[in-house]
Symmetry: C2
Subunit: 188 residues, 2 copies
DNA sequence: GACACAAGTAAACGGTCGTTTACATATGAA
DNA sequence: TTCATATGTAAACGACCGTTTACTTGTGTC
């Protein structure tokens, strides 16, 4: 049984598991699935490398758990349809401290076939399908596709390819176009 | 000196080099940079694995050469601005036999930092910067960014993520939106 | 305190990969 | 024909990675 102050314990499986999961989210987002090593992740978590296999069943299962924990299915669909464009761009463009965006994790899995399959499956079930039901009318599938295309393209443009002079920054004109683009999806 | 029918030669460095390059384009596009092995590429080319290092200087240099050979800088900017939307979507959506699109190669490099840097550099110099000079006015940079976002997002949506029931197919309604979207970039 | 088990660690295993090395052979000029 | 060299091959090298194994140590219970 746990003591009153269980924080004093030097061994805590749940805490270790969470530390691995959090470190995995960070390193998968930073380095991509292929370049993120078990030893990188467990070193940041401050634990032994073998615990990934013990607690998660392997690197691929850890990736799935890390991505799923980063996915918030209500990320878009809890927004009001008024000001949807401004609000969704604000969520995308402005980093929120402590919050790990799932998009870098997903893009980092692009070149590994197994990780990509997991990422695609999660994205479909947790984002794409909820979006389709959230949008109205018979064009809901096209609207969801438009949302995915602009979102994925924006992250690929901003984060994956240092095309602009300052990667990560968003030009005001581009930001305005993004806002009207997202707003048009819910208005039409 | 070459004989009259040099095709009878069993050794031809140029032909071998081209065979490696062509096989590399295919396999980098199919499996991504990380999962594409030197042995895969040289096996398809029908030559020995060591020739990659001898002729190209290594896997990374081979990737750069393969991507550069697949990039056609006039892919967009030789189109007339009338019917630009329909024409560019036709180029993207309808596969052309024998032609290897550079975008699968680029996405396949997403999770390898070195390959991604090469891909980003080539995309900027050969596509993004020409696009900026091709677009008119002071909003050329924003227009080029819009073009990249929609293009990258479309390929990520269609080819990288099997979100729709039939990956690779393009819904007519989505296609129409893509056409108006691209047309708007050149019209505004 | 003694014990059973959970929690954590260190080290080795087996495999893959890019690259290099040592060697064989076709080529074309002298 | 001879021979230097370009071309191609087979095999080994060295490193890295995910995983597993054997072992140690802390924890809670009796």
């Amino acid at each position: 049984m746990a003591t009153i102050n269980s924080d004093t314990r030097t061994r805590d499986a749940d805490r270790t598991r969470q530390a691995i999961l959090h470190a995995a989210q960070q390193i998968f987002a930073e380095k991509g699935f292929a370049e993120a090593g078990i030893r990188d992740i467990t070193a940041r978590a401050g634990v032994n490398q073998s615990l990934v296999s013990r607690y998660f069943g392997g690197k691929l299962k850890l990736f799935e758990a890390a991505l799923e924990a980063a996915l918030d299915p209500r990320l878009m669909t809890d927004l009001p349809k008024e000001d949807f464009g401004k609000r969704i761009v604000a969520r995308f463009a402005d980093e929120r401290a402590g919050r790990i965006s799932p998009l870098p994790i997903m893009f980092g899995a692009a070149s590994d076939s197994e990780a990509r399959a997991i990422a695609a499956h999660l994205l479909r079930d947790r984002v794409f399908e909820p979006l389709k039901t959230w949008f109205d009318g018979e064009t809901a599938a096209v609207k969801a596709a438009r949302f995915m295309i602009v979102s994925l393209g924006f992250f690929a443009y901003r984060d994956q390819l240092p095309l602009a002079e300052f990667a990560g920054a968003v030009d005001p004109g581009l930001r305005q176009w993004l806002e009207t683009e997202f707003q048009a999806i819910v208005d039409e």
